[in-house]
C-alpha cells in the first residue's frame, strides 16, 4: 500500500519525461498521467482513512540515513486537492493552448510542477523539502513566464528572485538544524528539538523564507503581478496550490516539529500579519480594474485567514476543541484551493472569449457565457464564506475559536474581510449580469467550462455538505 507514496511523485515525473520526448502526443499523455495520478491519490486517501499515517523509506534505508516519505491526514487531504485541481486544470489546459508548440512547452513543466507539489507534501526530510521547494519554485516561474509578454516575464523574474531568497533562508535554517541535531528527519526532530537560540533561529529563518513564498502580507508584493499575468491554468495552480504548499510547511513546522518552543507572541505576530493581509488584500481586490488581479489579491486575503488560525490554535490546549479548529483551518484551505482554481479557469474563459478581463466592461457576460458566470458566482460564494460552502464551516470554527480563547478582535477582522469579499464579488457579478443587450448568442464550450464548474462546485457543495470526513481524517492520526 505504501507504494502509492512513490507513484504519487513518480507518475507525474515519468509523465514529464514522456511529454518531453513525445511532443506530438503530449496532451494525451499528460491527461493519462493526470487521471492515473488522481487515481493513486484517491487510493492513498482511502488507505490513510483506514490505516492512518503511511510512510515509506526510500531505498530501504531507515529514516535519518535515508529519506522517508510520510502521508498523514493533513498531507493526504492536500494531495487529493492537488490531484483534483491539477486534473481539472489539465482538462482545461488541453483546450486553452491552441498551438502545438505552446503545448509542447507547457506539459513537461506542468507535470514537473505537479511532481514538486506531491514530493513536497510527502517529504519527511528537511533538506529534501528544500529541494522540492526549489523544484516547485523553478517550475512555477517557468510556467508563469510562458505568456512571454513583458509583464509576464517581469513578474516571473521577480517571483524567481523572491522565491530564491526564500529558499536560501529556509536552507540556512536547515543547516543550523543539522549542525545542532545531526538529523534532518522531521519525526526524529520532533522529539529532539529543545528551546534555545539554535532552534529559535532555525525556525525563524525557515518561517521567514516560507512566509515569503506563501506571500503573507507584507511579503505579498510579488504575488499579484505573477499570478495575474500567467496563463489561466497556471494562475489557477499557482494561487490554489503553490502558495499553499509553503503554507503547509509552516503549519507542519509550527504544529508538529517545533511545537514545543512556540510562544503566544510569535503566533500573535502571524495573526496580525494575517489580519493585515485580509484587510489589505480584500481592499485591493475591491479597487482593482482587472478580474485576474482581483482574483490574485483575493488570494492574498484568503491566505490571511489561514494565518489567523495560528494564535487561536496556540491558545488552545490539545483536545477536541483544538482538533475542531485545525479541521476548520484545513477545510478553509481546501475550499479556497478549489474555489480559486475554478475562478481563475473561469476568468481564463472570459479573457479568451471577450479578449480582455476588465471588470467594468463585463456587461452581458452572463448572457454570453452563462455556465462560466455561474462558476464565478459559485467561487464567489466560497470566497465570501457563505453557507453551504466549506469556507463557511472554516470561518465558523475560526470565529468560535476566537471567542473561546478570548481573542474577539480577530472576529471583527473576519467580518470586515467577508464584507469586503462580498463587495468585490458582487461588483463583478453586477457587471456580468448587467442588462445591456449583447448581440452575440450564448456560447457553451463544455470542455473549457466544465472544469471551472466542477472545481467551484466542489468548494461550495462538496466540501460544505460533506465536510465531516475531513475532521475524521485529521483526527484519525492526531
Amino acid at each position: 500500500m505504501s507504494d502509492t507514496l512513490i507513484w504519487l511523485f513518480a507518475l507525474p515525473l515519468t509523465g514529464a519525461v514522456a511529454t518531453l520526448l513525445l511532443p506530438r502526443q503530449a496532451t494525451a499523455l499528460a491527461n493519462v498521467t493526470a487521471v492515473a495520478t488522481t487515481a493513486v491519490a484517491a487510493t492513498l486517501l482511502h488507505a490513510v482513512s483506514r490505516q492512518g499515517t503511511l510512510s515509506y523509506e526510500i531505498g530501504g534505508w531507515s529514516a535519518g540515513l535515508g529519506i522517508a516519505l510520510r502521508a498523514d491526514g493533513l498531507s493526504t487531504l492536500l494531495l487529493m486537492m492537488t490531484a483534483l485541481v491539477v486534473l481539472a486544470s489539465s482538462v482545461y489546459a488541453s483546450a486553452y493552448f491552441s498551438k502545438a508548440a505552446e503545448r509542447a512547452r507547457f506539459w513537461p513543466l506542468w507535470l514537473l510542477l505537479w511532481t514538486a507539489l506531491n514530493a513536497l507534501l510527502l517529504s519527511g526530510d528537511l533538506f529534501n523539502l528544500y529541494v522540492t521547494l526549489e523544484l516547485l519554485g523553478l517550475s512555477a516561474v517557468a510556467l508563469a513566464s510562458l505568456g512571454g509578454k513583458l509583464a509576464a516575464v517581469q513578474a516571473a523574474l521577480r517571483y524567481l528572485l523572491v522565491g530564491l531568497l526564500g529558499s536560501m533562508m529556509f536552507l540556512a535554517g536547515v543547516s543550523l538544524v543539522y549542525a545542532g541535531y545531526g538529523t534532518l528527519d522531521l519525526s526524529t526532530l520532533a522529539h529532539t528539538v529543545e528551546a534555545g537560540p539554535l532552534a529559535w533561529t532555525a525556525l525563524a529563518l525557515m518561517t521567514a523564507g516560507l512566509l515569503l513564498k506563501t506571500a503573507l502580507f507584507p511579503l505579498h508584493f510579488w504575488l499579484p503581478p505573477a499570478h495575474a499575468s500567467a496563463p489561466a491554468p497556471v494562475s489557477a495552480v499557482l494561487s490554489a496550490l503553490v502558495v499553499k504548499a509553503a503554507f503547509y510547511l509552516v503549519l507542519r513546522l509550527w504544529l508538529d516539529v517545533f511545537a514545543d518552543l512556540l510562544t503566544p507572541a510569535a503566533a500573535r505576530l502571524l495573526g496580525v500579519m494575517g489580519a493585515a493581509a485580509i484587510l489589505w488584500g480584500s481592499w485591493r481586490a475591491l479597487r482593482t480594474e482587472r478580474l485576474k488581479l482581483l482574483a490574485a489579491y483575493s488570494t492574498v486575503a484568503q491566505l490571511g485567514y489561514l494565518f489567523l488560525f495560528f494564535p487561536i490554535l496556540l491558545a488552545m490546549p490539545p483536545g477536541p476543541a483544538r482538533d475542531a479548529a485545525l479541521g476548520g483551518l484545513v477545510i478553509l484551505a481546501l475550499t479556497h484551493g478549489f474555489a480559486k482554481a475554478g475562478l481563475f479557469l473561469a476568468i481564463g474563459i472570459i479573457q479568451q472569449r471577450c479578449g480582455h478581463d476588465r471588470i467594468c466592461e463585463l456587461d452581458g457576460t452572463a448572457q454570453r457565457l452563462p455556465a462560466t458566470t455561474f462558476a464565478i458566482a459559485l467561487g464567489g460564494v466560497a470566497l465570501i464564506g457563505l453557507p453551504p460552502s466549506g469556507a463557511f464551516l472554516g470561518k465558523w470554527q475560526l470565529i468560535g475559536g476566537a471567542f473561546a480563547t478570548g481573542q474577539w478582535l480577530w472576529v471583527l477582522v473576519i467580518i470586515a474581510g467577508s464584507l469586503l469579499a462580498a463587495a468585490y464579488i458582487f461588483r463583478v457579478l453586477g457587471h456580468a449580469f448587467g442588462n445591456r443587450a449583447y448581440p452575440q448568442s450564448t456560447v457553451t464550450v463544455a470542455r473549457e467550462e466544465w472544469p471551472a464548474l466542477v472545481l467551484t462546485g466542489t468548494a461550495v457543495i462538496g466540501l460544505g455538505l460533506a465536510g465531516a470526513p475531513v475532521w475524521q481524517l485529521l483526527g484519525s492520526n492526531a
Binding site: 533538506f127 528544500y130 529541494v131 526549489e134 519554485g137 523553478l138 516561474v141 517557468a142 513566464s145 512571454g148 509578454k149 513583458l150 516575464v153 517581469q154 516571473a156 523574474l157 524567481l160 528572485l161 530564491l164 531568497l165 536560501m168 536552507l171 540556512a172 543547516s175 543550523l176 543539522y178 549542525a179
Partner: protein, 95 residues
C-alpha cells in the same frame, strides 16, 4: 576545541548576511542575483565547517553531499534567472 570549525563557521554567517543585504537592497538584477549566490555560498560554508572534525578525522560526508546538491540547484536557478533577464531586455527593446 577546534578553531577552524569556528573560524569558517562564523565567516559563513557573515557571508550570508553580506549576501542577504545586497539581495534585499540592490536595484540591479545582476547584483541581486550575485547577492543570493553569495548568501548560498555562506550557507554552504557553514555546512562544510560543521562537517569538519579536525585533522586526521574523517569529516561527516552528509553535509558534503547536501552542499553538492545545493550548488547544482543554485546554478540552475541562476541560469533560469539570467534567461528571464535576457528575454526581459528583448521585450523591453520591442516596446
Amino acid at each position: 576545541m577546534l578553531t577552524a570549525h569556528w573560524l569558517y563557521g562564523i565567516t559563513g554567517c557573515l557571508v550570508v548576511a553580506l549576501g542577504l543585504r545586497t539581495a534585499l537592497l540592490h536595484a540591479l538584477l545582476l547584483h541581486r542575483l550575485i547577492g543570493i549566490n553569495v548568501m548560498g555560498a555562506g550557507v554552504f560554508l557553514m555546512l562544510i565547517a560543521v562537517a569538519y572534525r579536525g585533522p586526521g578525522v574523517a569529516p561527516d560526508p552528509v553535509p558534503h553531499a547536501l552542499v553538492l546538491t545545493g550548488i547544482v540547484v543554485a546554478v540552475s536557478a541562476t541560469a533560469l534567472a539570467l534567461a528571464l533577464a535576457r528575454r526581459l531586455t528583448a521585450e523591453q527593446d520591442d516596446e
